[in-house]
């Protein structure tokens, strides 16, 4: 699985970043302009300009239409951008840390841990009716704690037994931990059938309920994750060559791994906690970036962040327009796009699986 390949220490070029930023802007505009409710584009633009301090325009939109733009679409697009950025950034980071281009945030148990914790909270809440566990923040908090707990468990299982473990051991540990936690979730769901509806809708991804509070909840973790990962991105290039070489270059490979995994897990957990489970972004986006712009993590990570943001926000536009006035769960669309892409990558790129 681990496949040290020669990495040409490519530099991040300005034009690639500009393309990424352009993609984000396109997603932003599309996200605000398109939706199941058709709104006059000029009205939308005026309504948005009106948000700026000191600007007072008459957008001509009704109260409801204005609310759709400023209170639904805007936070939803922003949240989609943040979640997409986090998932893609975390995916790229895990791939670097584990030297496995197929690594994904969810492979380490993030999804299973969050799923179990959310199910437990929803099940307990609906049977107890206890106000203290019925707070609106409970589901995000549970998802967050569950995701981090699962990653920690994976880490403990995967690294116990001392040195000499290959990075692959960790991924296998993640698979085992995931299976175990998912079994627990299935059991809970069966015992508390009345919670199934709420849990499944969360599992399907839920940008549809996005609000500004979700954005605010997520923002600090996003900034922290970005800062840590982007500052360490050179170390990933060195790690990709091998631990010996990294040591030779004066790096503490294990410490770098801890820091990077912790940051990526924190970012993923934050994304999962506000948006539910949205798969494949963490694999597809870094891969596409690697294929197009080169295999250096110096390039992959920042670009994955930008394109991940644009990818998810645009997927969300599709999720709410394709079957309008109903919504398609966003995870269904990311899987529809992601799985075939994943298979193509698997079959065409040599050496991916070692």
């Amino acid at each position: 699985m681990s496949e040290p390949r020669p990495v040409q220490p490519a530099r991040l070029r300005a034009w690639t970043v500009l393309i990424g930023i352009a993609a984000v802007l396109v997603a932003l505009v599309a996200g605000l302009a398109l939706g199941p409710v058709r709104l006059p584009p000029l009205g939308v633009a005026r309504e948005l300009l009106d948000l700026l301090p000191g600007v007072r325009l008459n957008s001509g939109l009704s109260v409801q239409q204005a609310a759709i733009v400023t209170e639904l679409r805007l936070p939803r697009v922003v949240l989609g951008l943040l979640v997409g950025a986090m998932l893609a950034l975390a995916g790229g980071t895990y791939q670097g840390v584990y030297r496995n281009p197929l690594a994904d945030p969810y492979l380490l148990g993030v999804a299973a841990g969050a799923g179990l914790a959310v199910t437990a909270v929803v099940a307990f809440r609906s049977t107890s009716g206890d106000v203290t566990v019925g707070l609106p923040l409970t589901v995000p908090v549970a998802a967050f704690v569950g995701a981090l707990g699962a990653v920690l468990l994976t880490y403990l299982v995967g690294t116990s037994g001392g040195r000499g473990r290959s990075p692959a051991t960790l991924i296998l540990a993640g698979v085992a931990v995931s299976a175990f936690l998912t079994a627990g979730q299935t059991y809970l769901l069966q015992r508390h059938a009345e919670t199934i509806r709420e849990v499944y809708s969360w599992l399907g991804g839920r940008l549809s309920t996005a609000g500004w509070h979700d954005v605010l909840l997520m923002l600090p973790y996003t900034v922290l994750t970005m800062a840590v990962v982007l500052l360490h991105r050179r170390e990933l290039d060195i790690l990709s060559v091998g631990d010996e070489e990294a040591l030779g270059l004066g790096l503490h490979p294990q410490r770098s791994r801890y820091v990077l995994v912790a940051a990526a897990s924190l970012g993923t957990a934050a994304a999962v906690s506000v948006s539910g489970l949205i798969g494949f972004v963490g694999i597809v986006v870094p891969h596409a970036v690697r294929l197009i712009f080169g295999a250096s993590y110096r390039v992959i990570l920042p670009l994955s962040m930008l394109f991940g943001a644009a990818f998810l926000a645009l997927t969300d536009v599709a999720a709410r327009t394709l079957a309008a006035p109903t919504e398609i769960p966003i995870s269904v669309l990311t899987a529809l796009v992601g799985a075939p892409f994943f298979i193509v990558v698997l079959r065409t790129s040599r050496g991916v699986t070692g």
Binding site: A67, I68, L72, P75, Y200, T209, G211
Partner: protein, 310 residues
Amino acid sequence: MLRRTPALVAVLAAATLAVTGCGGGNDTPAAPASASDAAYPVSVGTVTLTEQPTKIVSLSPTATEMLFAIGAGSQVAAVDDQSNYPPEAPKTDLSGYQPNAEAIAGSSPDLVVLANDTNKIVDQLTKLKVPVYVAPAAKTLDDTYQQISDLGRLTGHADQATALNGQMKNDIDKLITDLPRPAGKKLRYYYELDPNYYTVTDQTFVGALFGELGLTSIANSADKDGSAGGYPQLSPEVVIDAGPDFVFLADVNCCQQTPEKVSERAGWGGIPAVTQHRVVALDDDIASRWGPRTVDLVRTVADAVAAASN
């Protein structure tokens, strides 16, 4: 998940009941007294009972409510984990969602009542020679009356079942005819099954009842071809844009939704239902079952409509 969730909603929109007043009022000592006037064997559909059942297992909350409302409560030996009404129903940890033939047959019932045939449970129980009656989610009130009447015959309470049906019909008819109708167009409502905006169209049990009260769902265009089974999921912006006159919350117990929370939702503050205080909290259980307490649901909604037209 796409295919699964509406099905789940439909299943969940299925449970039990007992009419307040009716259950307690008829104090006929159930089994022995009424056994005399019931002639067995009785056949309903494919079920045949040779004698009056005394150990009934109900895995449907709606059926549980029906059984108690027709005076067959004392014959009920066990009910599923969702049957929470009436309170004296002998609740067990049997699951109606994941019925288990061995667990059910273990209590050697002489009649099992189910709302759906999950896990091929009907076949399995039939092999074990356990009589099974399936009372699936009603699509119309007539289905409800039919199930009550079937259960009445099977349990030896045919007369009480007939009386209950008559009472329900009267009550509902009276609520409908007494309702002051706002002249002109139908009032439009959004009925919330869960916080992810699953709702009902006019083509559902609830939708039809609400239609009788002069209401129409905002979701009809979301399920034109009926592929969502009358339970489509709406985009939130569609709900806001539709500007319903009423919001009915059927996710109060399950998901802690309240009229206050609805008014605080992003973008919802301006819809007529919120500005005119027409967000109505329902009892999830009553709202999702098609049994005797359907009258209570109709009454709640009729009251809301009446208040709005004052």
